[in-house]
Structures are given as C-alpha cells and as structure tokens.
C-alpha cells in the first residue's frame, strides 16, 4: 500500500540535505548542506571557518548520529580539542566513542624535497581509511589550501584536488572544505572552481570599531536559500546565525487584549489595552517617564504570570529596580519568581546585528510573552538610523511570528514634536504613545497622547501624565483659552471651579430664601385683604340686617298703627 501511495504522489526528487544543527543556518539553507556533496566555506582569517565546520561535525555526531572526520591542516588535534572545549564540545569523548575522528595533516615544505612526479594518494588513503573506520557521513578539510604552501607543483595539486572532490562525492560524504579568502577570488587558490555545489562566505567586518560577523550563501545549486548577509554570533553555545528577514507578512494575529498596567491608559485605548503580539512604541524627550511606562508594562505582564524580558541599553537592572521601587513597583520579586529577565548591555558591546542575534537567542531561550527594549534610540550609536530601522523591522517580524508583545521606548531629542525622530519605526509599530513635556507658568509637566493605535478605538485627548508614589496615572488636562493647562495651572483651574460652584450654590440658596420671603409677604397681604374684605362684608351684612330689621320693625309699627287707628275710629262712632 505505501508503495502505491508513493507512486501516486508525483513528488520530484529533491536534493537531500544534511542538517548542520547550527542555530539558524539550517533555516537559511532550507534544511542544511547538500548531502553527499562538498561545500566550500571561505572567509578571511578569524572569520569562524574552523568553528563552523567543527560544529558541523560535532553536531552531526551528537544530534544526527552521523559520524564525522575532521582533517585539520592547520591546527593539531590537541589544540582543536582545547579550542572547542570552551564551547562545551568534548571531542576526546566523541573520538573515544568513534563518532568523530580528528586527523592533523602536517606538511612542511622545509622537510620535503620534490624529486619528480607524485600524487596525493597518501591523503586519499588516509581520508578513506578514516571514513571507513568510523563509518563517517561527514568530512571536513580545514584548510586544504595549506597543501599549496607545503607542495610546489601546483599543476599536480590542482589536478589532485579536482580528483579529491570528485572522490568525496563518490564516497557520498557531506563535506566542508574551508578556504582562506583571496584578493580577487573567494579563495586564494580558486577552490570555488572545484566545489560548485554550495559556497558559503564568512566575513568579519568592523565599522565604527564594532565588529560584526556575517555569513552569506553565495551559491547553493538545486536549492532555495537565503541570499542576504546574515549576522552570526559565536558564543558559549557555538554559532548562531540569524535568519534575518521574513519576507512574508503573514504572521498570525491575536484579538486578545492585554493591559498596559496603567488603568487610565487602558481606558484611553478603548478600555482594554493593547493587542497581544502587537508592537508598541513609547517615545518622548528625556525624563518623561518612558522607562516607568515600560516597567509598568513589564510588571503587569508578570502579574498575569507571563514571562517578560527587559533589554536595557541605558541603565543597569539594579538601577531600574531601585528606581521603580520609588513609584511603587517591585520588579525584584518577579525576577526571583523567574518571570522577569533583565538584560542590560551597552549598545557598543557589539554591532547592531549581533544585538539582534543576541536578543533572538535570549527570546528563544526564555520564551517570554512580552519583550521590552529600553531605549532603541541608544542603538543608533552603533549603527545608522536606517540600519536600526532594518534591525527593528526584523525584530518586529520575528516577535509577531512568535506572538510576543513588544514595547520599545525611544528618546526624541527634539522638544518640538517631530514625527521623524523615532528612528522611522513609527510606521512599523501598531501603537505609538507620545510622552512630551508641556512647559508653562514656570513648570514642566508631562502630557501623553496616543499618536496611533491600530485596530482599536482610542482617545484623541491629551492627558496629563503624573508619576506618584503609588504609580502612574493619567489626568484629563484642561483646555482653556491659554491652551492646555497642566500641573498647578490645572489645579488652580480646578480650585477656581470648585469656588465657583460653591458661590453658585450659595447664590441659589439666597434666591430661594428671597422667594420664600416674598411669598410670605404676599401671603400676609392676601390674608389682610381677606380680613378687610370680611370686615367690609360684615359691615355690609350688618347694615343689610339692620335695614331688614328696620324694615320689619317699621312694618310692624305701621301695622300696629293701622290697628291702633282702626280701634279708635270704632269707639268714636259709638259715642255719637
């Protein structure tokens, strides 16, 4: 069945690769060196050729179970063993286990007399024997050009070298041949003519007294490979090459939001903070609290139990820890808990690229979720602005691919806001906070604004940025006719507003009382009028009743009189 499925997949047979195990090199070469073919590694003296090839052998033996033969034309076996012991490679042990074979080829012109035609069969037999004795899959010839100084007959040597490389291919071993860099050609003896499958050039460049090691793949037949110059680092772990540019912008993105550690700032950022995996730039003039913002961000990250690396290029870790104590954050406990790692180095320690390699390595090792670089502006001392920018682009690319949030601080030298001062990285970052001094009324205050924050609603307001014993806070500034009010001007404004308010309340209550009083007066008036009306009514009523009574009485009296008259008249009549 598997055979059938194999038949169905029309995969072209590709060049098989032999992984070097060297950090980064396998990425650039898309899997390693061409298996079963010779590779030429060339470079000037001290560029790391021997180390690279030796690491290839050692890692092959240790990691890929491919024994290797190292044939040294320069250094003696004992010297080699000693030289790489500092990298933690125990060549003696590997030799004992039969995984590595060191062979020092000694050739000295003064001891040798050439008496006619010869060939290099001795070398072939020697190498063949060494390969067969341990079943080697890898071979290094370091530096075979030394033969040219030991032997006179160049014609023979060239022919023999050609034969040697052909023979190595036949043997099916993956070989590295090192060569010293020549004046006009890659190697002094033009070895590149013979080794045509893969050529790697190592360089060691010094600019502004700072050295950078660079690696470039000049050619690699039948394979994709990175074509740039890649910086590499030699340290206690051997060689690390940095695959610098990811050409594709296809890093995963997160919608998760993380707090900046300053609630008021989160509020300005739509209430939730930054996106995870985004890049944040905090720029500002000296003494505006950039490091404090960075420290708060680090602190918040550690409080979420997420690891954080702090790269400081200006202050020592102890200094930062002490200084941050004064605004109420304790970074030491995070360091003790293993959540925070602080790395302080002067930018001039090594070149820009080396910094990048170093940062890369530390990030790969510590696996943080948050990275802080404070400040990136200091890196300009070891490179031009464009170099710093290209380094940061690569760093941001790398961090985004790893979903690591990064915060840079940048010192802007101009007090006048200049968007171009920030190493031109402002276009690269996702969020940009600007902290600037606002100077008025004989004092200096800090103002903060969000210049940009991609993909989220954010405040357009300038906030006053205050640093207190308890931490950082953002306060609304007052915008008055004289402009932005901050600091004591703001406080004065606030006080005057309070006074105004009190006065207003007071006035209000006085008016109330007045109204009350007026009402009372009016009410009193109404009452007295009522009384008056009643008394008038009473009087009117009284006269009316009197009138009635009078009328009644008069009526009564009239009736009485009538009656009285009637009776008088009757009596008169009788008497008559």
């Amino acid at each position: 069945m598997p055979a059938k499925s194999k038949k169905h997949s029309p995969v072209l047979k590709q060049l098989s690769k032999s992984p070097t195990g060297i950090n980064g090199l396998d990425e650039i070469t898309d899997g390693g060196l061409p298996a079963g073919r010779p590779t030429l590694v060339c470079g000037a003296a001290g560029s790391g050729k021997t180390l690279l090839s030796l690491e290839f052998i050692v890692r092959g033996a240790m990691q890929f179970n491919e024994p290797g033969v190292f044939m040294a034309f320069e250094e003696k076996a004992d010297e080699l063993i000693m030289n790489v012991a500092s990298l933690g490679f125990d060549l003696k042990d590997l030799q004992k286990k039969g995984l590595v074979k060191l062979d020092h080829v000694h050739i000295d012109r003064t001891e040798i007399e050439e008496t006619g035609e010869y060939d290099l069969d001795g070398l072939f037999i020697r190498l063949g024997y060494a390969i067969d004795s341990i079943g080697a899959k890898r071979v290094v010839l370091d530096t075979i050009e030394n033969l040219f100084s030991g032997l006179d007959n160049q014609g023979i040597l060239r022919a023999e070298l050609r034969r040697l490389f052909g023979w190595l291919k036949e043997k099916g071993v993956t070989a590295i041949i090192t060569g010293e860099r020549g004046e006009s050609s890659l190697t002094r003896q033009g070895l590149e003519e013979y080794v045509s499958d893969c050529v790697i050039l190592l360089d060691h460049r010094v600019s502004n007294q700072i050295s950078t090691r660079l690696l470039r793949i000049i050619k690699y037949r039948g394979s994709l490979h990175g074509t740039n110059e890649y910086p590499f680092l030699i340290d206690e772990d051997g060689i690390s090459v940095l695959p610098v540019t990811s050409l594709l912008l296809n890093a995963p993105v997160s919608t998760q939001r993380i707090s900046s550690g300053i609630p008021a700032l989160d509020h300005m950022l739509g209430g939730k903070g930054f996106f995870r995996g985004s890049s944040i730039l905090v720029s500002g003039t000296a003494g505006t609290g950039k490091t404090s913002i960075a420290a708060f961000f680090a602190n918040e990250s550690c409080r979420r139990k997420e690891r954080c690396i702090y790269f400081a290029f200006e202050e020592s870790p102890q200094q930062i820890i002490r200084n941050m104590h004064s605004i109420g954050i304790d970074l030491q406990t995070h360091i003790d808990n293993g959540l925070l790692q602080m790395n302080a180095s002067r930018p001039t320690l090594y070149g820009l690229e080396m910094h990048l390699v170093d940062i890369h390595k530390k990030i790969k090792k510590f696996k943080p979720r948050t990275v802080i670089l404070d400040p990136i502006t200091n890196l300009v001392t070891v490179g031009s602005v464009s170099e710093v920018k290209s380094m940061l682009v690569r760093l941001i690319d790398f961090l985004q691919a790893e979903q690591i949030t990064v915060l840079f601080t940048a010192l802007s030298l101009n007090t006048i806001v200049n968007e171009q001062t920030d190493e031109g990285v402002s276009s690269l970052v996702d969020a940009w906070l600007l902290v600037r001094d606002i100077e008025s009324n004989g004092e200096r205050n800090r103002g903060m604004y969000i210049m940009k924050s991609r993909g989220m609603k954010h405040s357009n307001q300038v906030r006053e940025f205050v640093i207190t014993d308890e931490g950082l806070d953002l306060v609304d500034v007052y915008l008055g006719p004289e402009g932005v009010l901050t600091g004591s001007a703001r406080e004065a404004q606030m006080l005057s507003e309070v006074t105004g308010a009190v006065m207003r309340t007071h006035a209000l209550s006085r008016k109330d009382i007045e109204i009350q009083r007026k009402r009372k007066v009016l009410e009193a008036k109404i009452a007295s009028l009522q009384e008056e009306f009643e008394s008038v009514q009473d009087q009117l009523n009284k006269s009316y009743i009197e009138e009635d009574l009078k009328k009644e009485i008069m009526e009564k009296n009239r009736k009485q009189m009538i009656e009285n008259r009637l009776t008088k008249n009757a009596g008169n009549g009788k008497r008559k």
Partner: protein
C-alpha cells in the same frame, strides 16, 4: 647484484648507514618508477651501505595517518638522523641525492 638486493631487502645488520623507507601505492606508474629509480640510485651511490624497505600503503592504510602521508610516492630517510622526506618518482637524481644528504656525507 643479487646479493646487494638481498641486502637491501634484508634485515638490519647494524652496519647500514642509510635506512630508507619508500611508501608507494600498489602498481601505479609513479610507484613503479619510484621503486626502479630509488633502487638504481642506491645501487649507484650507496652500495652495501643502505637498507631499503618498500611499503605499499594500500596494504597498510593505517600507516597513512601514523606516518603523516600526503603526497606519494614518499621516501623517508630514517637513518642517519635527522629524518628527511622526499616525494615524487625519484626521477630527479640530483635532488634525490641532495635530499638524502649523500653529497654531504660523500665528501
């Protein structure tokens, strides 16, 4: 002639001033020439005064590393000290003799 050859191939008898080891690779043209040339030179200049051992490196491959072999054929003058190394097919008699220090000793 025969006697001398035996002598050359035979064991050390303590009197040989010259102890020579010639490393060759089987029957390659260079090797064949080297063997013939060195024998001739020894016969001509070191009669009875040498011991020549011819070693085929193909037969003893481990020797290559031990003896620091690179270019072959190689003649090593073990005795008298210091050790001298001559490479090539020994066709340049002048150089071979010079390399063996013969003129120095001869005079």
């Amino acid at each position: 002639m025969k006697k001398k050859e035996e002598h050359a191939d035979g064991t050390s008898n303590g009197t040989n001033e010259y102890v020579l080891h010639l490393f060759i690779t089987g029957a390659t043209p260079n090797s064949v020439r080297a063997v013939a040339n060195i024998k001739q030179i020894c016969e001509d200049h070191l009669k009875g005064n040498y011991q020549l051992e011819i070693i085929d490196v193909y037969q003893q491959q481990a020797l290559a590393e031990k003896e620091q072999l690179v270019a072959l054929p190689l003649l090593i003058r073990r005795q008298p000290l210091p050790e001298r190394r001559l490479i090539g097919d020994m066709s340049d008699t002048e150089k071979v003799l010079k390399g063996l220090g013969f003129y120095l000793h001869g005079r």
